[in-house]
Symmetry: C2
C-alpha cells in the first residue's frame, strides 16, 4: 500500500485498462449471466449502501426483499412463499440441503441427485458432511428414474431435481420425483437457478415448482435469466418453519435472529431484481425468454445444417452439440462428456447467432 493516495483519474484509467481485459458479452455463449437490465442497475445504485444483514436498520429494503420473495413465489405457484435473497445458486443449494438435513435428523445423511447436478452440490455435501449419491442420467441427460430408487434409503434426507440443467438445459422428471418424495416423505429441492426465470414464461413447459405437492424448496437466481445485478439468488420454500432450523441469535443487531448463511447482504441487487420484475411484467419476460428460445432454436437448426447434431433436445435456452472444435474468438464451453455447450442469454441476438454459425462453418476450411 502506497503511503500517499493516488489521483482519482489515475486510478480510473488503471481500472479501465483492467475492464478492457474482461470479455465483453457479445461473443460469450458460455455464461448463464448476462448484462444486467438498466432498470436493475439504476435500482441497485439507489440501494448501494443498503445491508440486509441488519434488516431493522434497512426496514425499507427488507420490505423489498419480502416482496421479491412473494412475487417469485407467485411465479412458482405458492402465494404465501417464504424465503430470502441469497448470493446465488450455490448458497441457496447449501441452505436447502442444510434445512433438509435438519428436518430429517439422520446421523449419516445422504442426498440423492442426478449426475447432471451443478458442482455446488459437491461443495455443499463436502461442507455438510453429507454423502452425495449421484444417479446416472438417461439418454436425454435427465435423472434415470428406472434406477433412482436404488439410491434412496432411510438416510436420504433430500432428493434434488434440476429445472434447466447447467450443461444440457434439460428439466428432470420432477412430477415423478415429487410423487416419490410425497410417498416417502423426503425433502425435494429443485435447482431452478437458471430455469426458474425461463420455464414460467414458456407454453407447455414441464412442471417443476410448488404446484407439485412434493416440492419442498426451489433455488432460483434473479442474476441469471432475471437480469438483475449480481449477486442475487433466491431460496423459496414451502414451509416457513424450515428457516427456523437455521437460525442463530444475533446480539448487537437490530433483529434478534438470522436464518441466512451469510451475514452482511447487499440490498442493491434485491431492489434491482424487484424493479426488473415489475418493469417487464409477465409479458416482458415472455418476450425476452421467447427471443432467447428462438435464438436457441436458430442455433440448433443452424448447427444441424452444418452437420453438427444437437446432443439432446433442451427444455430451456441452452444447447449442446457433437462438435469437437470451437470457432476462434468465441467463448463456448464443454460439457463433461465433451459436447460443445452454448447458452443463448438475452445479450445474444439473431445476428450474433448467424455470425457464430458462419465462423463454425469455416472451422475446417
Amino acid at each position: 500500500m502506497q503511503k500517499k493516495g493516488c489521483p482519482e483519474e489515475e486510478i480510473f484509467s488503471f481500472l479501465s485498462f483492467a475492464r478492457d481485459k474482461d470479455r465483453k458479452y457479445d461473443k460469450v455463449l458460455s455464461s448463464m449471466c448476462t448484462i444486467p437490465h438498466p432498470v436493475a442497475v439504476r435500482a441497485h445504485n439507489m440501494f448501494i449502501e443498503s445491508n440486509l444483514g441488519d434488516p431493522g436498520l434497512f426496514a425499507g429494503t427488507a420490505e423489498l426483499e419480502s416482496l421479491l420473495v412473494r412475487e417469485i413465489g407467485e411465479l412458482m405457484h405458492i402465494p404465501d412463499a417464504c424465503g430470502y435473497a441469497t448470493s446465488g445458486g450455490t448458497e441457496s443449494n447449501i441452505q436447502a440441503l442444510r434445512i433438509a438435513g435438519k428436518q430429517a435428523r439422520r446421523k449419516m445423511p445422504n442426498v440423492v441427485v442426478p449426475e447432471s447436478v451443478h458442482f455446488s452440490f459437491e461443495k455443499a455435501c463436502d461442507i455438510l458432511s453429507y454423502e452425495l449419491r449421484t444417479v446416472p442420467c438417461d439418454g436425454n441427460q435427465k435423472i434415470d428414474t428406472s434406477v433412482l430408487e436404488d439410491y434412496i434409503d432411510k438416510n436420504t434426507v433430500c432428493i434434488t431435481g434440476i429445472a434447466g440443467s447447467t450443461e444440457y438445459g434439460v428439466v428432470d422428471p420432477i412430477e415423478h420425483l415429487s410423487d416419490i418424495c410425497s410417498d416417502r416423505e423426503i425433502f425435494l429441492h429443485i435447482d431452478a437457478a437458471f430455469g426458474g426465470f425461463v420455464l414460467p414464461f414458456l407454453k407447455n413447459a414441464p412442471k417443476f415448482d410448488f404446484e407439485l405437492d412434493g416440492v419442498s424448496s426451489i433455488s432460483v437466481d434473479p442474476h441469471k435469466m432475471g437480469m438483475s445485478t449480481i449477486p442475487c439468488g433466491c431460496l423459496i420454500a414451502r414451509d416457513p418453519s424450515y428457516f427456523k432450523s437455521t437460525e442463530v441469535e444475533t446480539p448487537y443487531l437490530t433483529v434478534q435472529k438470522e436464518c441466512t448463511l451469510l451475514g452482511t447482504r447487499p440490498g442493491g441487487p434485491v431492489a434491482g431484481a424487484l424493479a426488473v420484475l415489475r418493469y417487464l411484467g409477465r409479458s416482458g419476460f415472455e418476450e425476452i425468454v421467447g427471443k432467447c428460445m428462438n435464438n436457441n432454436r436458430r442455433l440448433i437448426d443452424g448447427m444441424a445444417d452444418l452437420g453438427y447434431e444437437v446432443a439432446v433436445q433442451p427444455d430451456v435456452n441452452v444447447a449442446s452439440f457433437k462438435c469437437e472444435n470451437s470457432p476462434k474468438g468465441w467463448i463456448v464451453s464443454r460439457t463433461r462428456e465433451g459436447h460443445m455447450r452454448t447458452v443463448c442469454m438475452p445479450h445474444i441476438t439473431e445476428d450474433i447467432i448467424d455470425e457464430f454459425l458462419k465462423d463454425v462453418s469455416e472451422i475446417n476450411v
Copy 2:
C-alpha cells in the same frame, strides 16, 4: 407478477418510498458498515456486470482481485499473500474453519474461540459439524489465557483470535495465541473483519497479523472500515496450499477449479475496494481511522462526564457503556451483557457525537 410491466418512474417512486424507510446512517451508532466511499461506488459501477465466478471471462477483474489480496496482504505483513474476495466475514470465517479442518483431519474436530466471538462461528460450526468450544473472557473482554489451554486437545483443529471484537472492540492477546499455535501446530485464524482496516493505521496497536509466525489466516472486510461497497470481505492466508483443499472441479466454466464457497461473485465491490485503497493510500486511511478513534475517545470521555463509565477500554473505534437507557431517535445496540454499545464509523462526526451526548444527558430529565 403483473401481466403488463409498470412504467419506470412508477417503480422508482415506489423504491424511493422504500428507501425512505431505511435509516440514514447519521444517527446510527450500531453498525460496522458505513456509507461507501464515492470512489468505491464509481469503481463498483464500472464493473457492475463483472462475475469473478468465471475469472477466465473476467480476466481483468480477476487481476484486480489478485492485486487487492496482495495489497491487503502487504498491510498484514505478508508480501506474497494468497486469498480471495469473499462476501464478508461470515464466509471468510466458514472457509477458514473448513481449511483448518482439512489440514488437521480429525474425526471429531473442535474449534477453540473466545466467548466474544462473532455469531458467524456458531453458523460455521453448525454447518461443518465442528464442536465450538468457547473460552471465557477476562475482565477486559479478551480471551482468558489462564484457562485457554484447558479447552485445547488433540482434536482442536483451529484456535481463533479476534482483532477488534464486535461487542467491545478489543483485540485478543494474539501474540500469546500465536505462540501456543506454533508450539502445538494448530491452525490460528484471526477474525479481523472489523479491526483489519483499523489496527494497521494506529500507532502502538497490538500485533495481530502475519508478522506473528503462528497466524495461519485472517478475515478482513473492505466493506466495513475499508469503505468499499458491500459485499466485500477478504480471506488472506499464509500458505497457498490451503486453498487446494477446498477446490472442486468446475466443468463448463473458463477455469478448471474453484476454491471459493460461493459460485457467482460480484467484481464491482472488489474494484471498489482496490480503488479506495489506492485513492486514500496509507496516509488517507491514517487520517480517517484517526478521526474515528478521536470521535470514539470524545464519546467515551463525554459519557464518563455524564456518569456513564466505559465497560472496557477498547482497542478500536467501538465503545461500550454501563448505561441502561438509550436516547430516543438514535440506534445503538446492546451487548449480551447488557452494555450500551456504539461504533464510531466514518459517517459519525464530532457534531454527531456532541448531539448524541446531549440527548444522553437528557434521558432522565
